[in-house]
Amino acid sequence: MKVLKKFDGALTGAAIALSLTAASVGTAAADTIKVGVLHSLSGSMAISETTLKDTMLMLVEQQNAKGGLLGKQLEAVVVDPASDWPLFAEKARELIEVEEVAAIFGSWTSVSRKSVLPVLEELNGLMFYPVQYEGEESSKNIFYTGAAPNQQAIPAVEYLRDELGVERWALLGTDYVYPRTTNKILAAWLADNGVAEEDIMINYTPFGHSDWQSIVSDVKAFGSEGKKTAVVSTINGDANVPFYKELGNQGISADDIPVVAFSVGEEELSGIDTAPLVGHLAAWNYFMSVDSEANDDFIDAWLEFIGDEDRVTNDPMEAHYIGFNMWVKAVEVAGTTDTDAVVDAILGVSVPNLSGGYSAMMPNHHITKPVLIGEVQDDGQFDIVWETPGLVPGDAWSDFLPGSKDLISDWRAPLSCGNFNVVSGSCGGGS
């Protein structure tokens, strides 16, 4: 079955690539700058990633309308890695070697990014990664425009503690790397802040888990001990709907035990019955409901581009918006699309984000962002109930994990290192 599927994926991928290559040979003139779009258009991740592909096409179109870049038109080269992790690496290689793209915008899951990373480093390519992730990585060739744990998870927990007076914590997650790392960081943070071990409950479930009866009933019992309790959810994708339904059916409302989720956004809410979720929370760096001129313009442009009034915008789309504009600005400053020149020029570049402020690229290849907490409304939108007073700089290496708290990342010369150990004073990690 597995083999069949892979074969199938590779075939479709190859077919699309062939047709695309043919197309670009026909139309590509020497005076265009190519931008690679590496998002799955088929397979299990297509639901989320197709939207990002469309976002990139829109951004390229907008830039061309403004007169392109360095006097040349931009050309988006779209490939389909088909939700197949090894295929991400092959497609990235193809984009850089065959298509000679100036930069790649792509990937969603951490495993797909990890699969692309060695190719980028070997061929000295550039990639902008737009999704919130678990941190613990900093490459010269990747720019992380999504949130690191300190730009999503930790502010969310601070909000629950300070604003809602939460004292007991149920950390529920799907069993893979992002929830496990995030929960490790959160557990360490909570312990540092004086939360006793018996006030933290950690539980992992398989992908697509649908039977939440006993876990929700455990959470209910955990929350009935007199201390205000909250659930911090890194539950992924399809498992969320049955989870929230079970919460609603067992009579747990958002004012009893609020759930703050890191993987539930507008796009995920657009396909489900939101009644059981109303009042629960999500932490992101952007919501469609953000009240700003830039956001209103972005939404209008998006709805017009996609031709469907019911579509939504979400956080990873904003990340691409920021990342793309940063790249454009860096190329203008450098006067070339050469990787090393752009990597140098982009540090410190600051562009408007959609929440009414500016985001800047930092030496560790992460960006500064505000953190917003939103409550789910019955129309599938979020009501913003809290935001950080200022911008939060992304931290590549968490200060709350034993292996990584001594590491820093700084890609400015003379350090130029993604994992510099401040204790041993050497580049290359290790403690």
């Binding site: 539980n203 009935s224 007199g226 339904k245 079970e246 609603g248 004012d255 396909g271 489900i272 409550e375």
Partner: protein
Amino acid sequence: MMNVRGGTLPPVFFQRLWRAVLLGLAVCFSPVQAADLPDALQSALEDLAGRDKVLRLEAVERIANSGTEESEALLQVILSGELYHWKPEDRFVRGEKDGRKFILYALEDGAELATVGRREAKKVSINNTLRGAVKSALATLDLIAPDPAKRLAGVRAQFAALAVPVERIDALLESESDTAVRDSLVTLRAMTLVSDETASGEPLMTAIAALGNSTEPGALTPLKGRFERSDDDAEKSALSSAIKAFESRQARFGMVKQVFFGLSLGSILVLAAIGLAITFGVMGVINMAHGELIMLGAYTTWAMQQLLPGQPGVALLLAIPMGFMVSASVGMVMERFAISKLYGRPLETLLLTFGFSLILQQAVRTFISARNVAVSNPSWMSGSLELHPMLSLTMNRVVIMFFCLAVFAVLWWVMQRTRFGLQLRAVTQHREMARCVGVRSRRIDTLTFGLGAGLAGLAGVALSQLGNVGPNLGQAWIVDSFLVVVFGGVGNLWGTLIGGLGIGVATKLIEPWSGAVLAKVLLLVAVILFIQRRPRGLFPPSGRSAGDN
């Protein structure tokens, strides 16, 4: 304004009546009935729209305690999230979302004001803390509501905050006639006393004992809280025995609950597997498209809800026959034109049905949407069924459990008591002999596959009430379905029933110890070991039908 005959009614009746009229008005014309918003409310709303969280919380209290007749209706507007700030006019209004526009109504008299775009209307958002404050303010108003059910809800809403003073509870108790409300008030009184630091002596001891015998789940909180803070030995021992009594009762109900959870999971497994028990178990077709036949049933439910908007319950009931027929027809077409050509060649059949599963998935992606679709629960399938204050079972699971038993009973009746069932058994037990006595075995094959596929459709209708409905729905159930059928014994319906329920209960009993991930692993290992020992499953077929022909 009101013509009341007879003059013997107590004054409290009029108070309640007046409140009922007010409530009725509030429901009919949600915005308040007054010429102008009183200054007190206006200034409170300004604070509410601000950013200072302390001021915002105070604003809710100020509205609740303003004593104005608009306050209750205004709180309802705030709670429903319909309060907007109309930016160009700098005015507070009630807004209704209409597509991407907002229709604004005056708070004072409900008159429609304008229809504006997203940029002009700013929602006055409320967070959980404020929502809690509004709810408790409304619940306090409910304490004197005329409807006993509403009063009961009002009292129960106080269990978390315990903000009502004991004297007030005593006053309420005096005028209360409904026993259920009285009982709740007594519990509330005891909880308030136990959490009151200044309470001591005899009344406190009585309250502690009362909570120890209480069935209200929230009763444990004040007991534990006081136990941690208390330094009085007599008090501590009373508290500890009350906590022990409460917890042991809770543990007994907890056990019952685990078994129910297991049976519920089991009944879903049985539903998902029962169609496969026919196509794979009885007919021997390794049907990889079984999951997609389930998915078709779920999409039928969605389609019915689209056809009957606003009637999710009726749509769901109609989806039961429709889901059966849709999946059965697809199944029969598959059998007639493809699978029947490959009988006796299991490996090719496997590949063929796997192909069907891919085709069906992609068809749904192409013609409906790659994204999940929303299927809503009718009201009688949401919430819980409270058998006892300590034991409430979720309605959707209870309904699905009975649905599963009903499906099984009907299937059993069809197999054992109808002519079709007789012919079906005859064909599967001895095809040649059945043909000799005039059974049209080809036709029976098609109908049998249709029956199995239709049952998968029924499972889909039920599953649409539990989780996502999307193109990948079937993939999640195919492995579990095969597991149940193989474990229960191929070709035996009772095996499927007992096997499914057994796997469900076992999973739920392991889960608290091991976690959900390990429970799944352990269960798979256990089933593999079991199949090693007994390759024919729990209920191996016996007699002539056991023959390998």
